[in-house]
Assembly symmetry: C2
Homo-oligomer: 263 residues x 2
């Protein structure tokens, strides 16, 4: 089943738009994991077992593994999700973007090596650099559009013929690049007006929405601005707010329920 089919199914079967970001920092995880052979994997397993009922997908951020040489922990984590909880797809958050021959290697990294179901990609280099990802019909390509950080305005909000750059990205994604219906857009929760503006332009293309929690995004405003008329269409990520909670299962359930209040 493709990523798009899996995520749509999961939104309904488990009544959840919540994605948990698996971004474990070796310095921050409980000390009992640190002595283990695969500390990040063991920590992730604990988080996954506590939260799987409440999520539509998981999103490991690859920097947390590459930065400390823990590639094996990432492989084991994705394999654990697929084998233990089939039906929950995995987004590899890597924000890749490079010319064709290199992009092919990144496709190999995300889908052959790590066996993710979807990967985040940066659009700055243009359509030809996205094509190797888009050609993977069953995988989703998640394009940065309007990110959740304060500096996002530096480039993304520059006006081109009266419209901000992020809207041009959204329109190119919807009108030119989405031949396989496998694009998702990253639109942060921190700017609900822009979530709404982009939603109006692109129809029911899903959003991956970071920025809830540590980054200050408001759940009610984001959900109301970003969901499609059927109350779906969003993958709402929380990382630190859940993985470092004293009870990650409770934190995930509580955020899922809060999101559902406004769908």
């Amino acid at each position: 089943m493709s990523f798009m089919e899996q995520i749509k199914k999961r939104w309904i079967s488990n009544n959840t738009l919540l994605c948990v970001g698996l971004d474990p920092d070796l310095d921050k995880i409980p000390s009992r994991f640190r002595e283990m052979e695969f500390p990040l994997y063991e920590f992730n397993k604990y988080i996954i077992d506590a939260t799987y009922q409440y999520v539509c997908c998981y999103k490991p951020q690859i920097a947390y593994y590459n930065g400390v040489g823990k590639e094996r922990d990432l492989e084991l984590t994705i394999d654990y999700i697929h084998s233990t909880y089939p039906g929950i797809p995995v987004i590899l958050d890597a924000k890749r973007g490079d010319i064709g021959s290199t992009a092919e290697m990144y496709v190999k990294e995300a889908f052959s090596r790590y066996k993710a179901d979807s990967v985040t990609v940066n659009p700055y280099m243009g359509g030809d650099t996205l094509q190797p990802f888009l050609d993977q019909k069953d995988k989703a390509t998640i394009l940065l559009c309007r990110t959740s950080n304060p500096g996002a305005v530096d480039l993304q909000n520059l006006l081109i013929e009266g419209k901000p750059l992020y809207l041009h990205v959204a329109q190119k994604a919807a009108n030119e690049w989405n031949k396989n219906n496998n694009i998702i857009l990253v639109v942060g929760a921190t700017y609900p007006d822009e979530l709404k503006e982009i939603r109006e332009v692109i129809g029911d293309m899903p959003f991956l929405t970071p920025g809830i929690g540590a980054q200050g995004g408001d759940v009610e405003k984001a959900v109301k601005a970003g969901t499609t008329p059927d109350g779906n269409g969003m993958i709402i990520n929380s990382s630190r707010g859940i993985i470092y909670a004293s009870n990650p299962g409770e934190a995930a359930k509580s955020l899922r329920d809060e999101i559902n209040l406004y769908r």
Copy 2:
């Protein structure tokens, strides 16, 4: 010595602007390397030993290692360059870009784990995502500006107040982000008019220029458009044209000499 000091010294001491891209594809390297324990490293060692006199730096593209689980080969390669040929700095071509906490992990990846001297970064997410890189004063941050691929026009050439996006990036780099004098811009050889236009705007900030060789960029036009008045200011990359040449040393010498003709 900082990356900037090293590269400036090397331009003169070895009279070269050439950078060799270490992008070894397991399927394309000679079969004698493939049976070795660290095939990409052994291949790189062969390339480095043959070309070191002719280069100002090396640039491994991380996708070629991550895609096939050869992180150790990359670590060994960078360590080999530093220990065997001190004075030749290394650019890790990774095109990273993410929010602060994640960017910190990418800084760790490039500089603590791989011990590179410089890293390529994507500006789409804005200034705050660049800061963790820029804060490393002795390392250079190499920002994508006008890339060499055909699709680069999709976003980079959109006009904002009459000026293309890539010029806005160049100006922000020169006027806002370069407090530590450690920014370099990626400007492709395939569009010499744009190399010239950017050079006029940013003074003597160095360029990293891909696009010679396999991508079709013209050496004479690129060098004349992109060098600073003293004939320096560029790091001109060639990957496939050198590493897969029957005699990589000869290929590197010949391209260095061709570049020097036009400085």
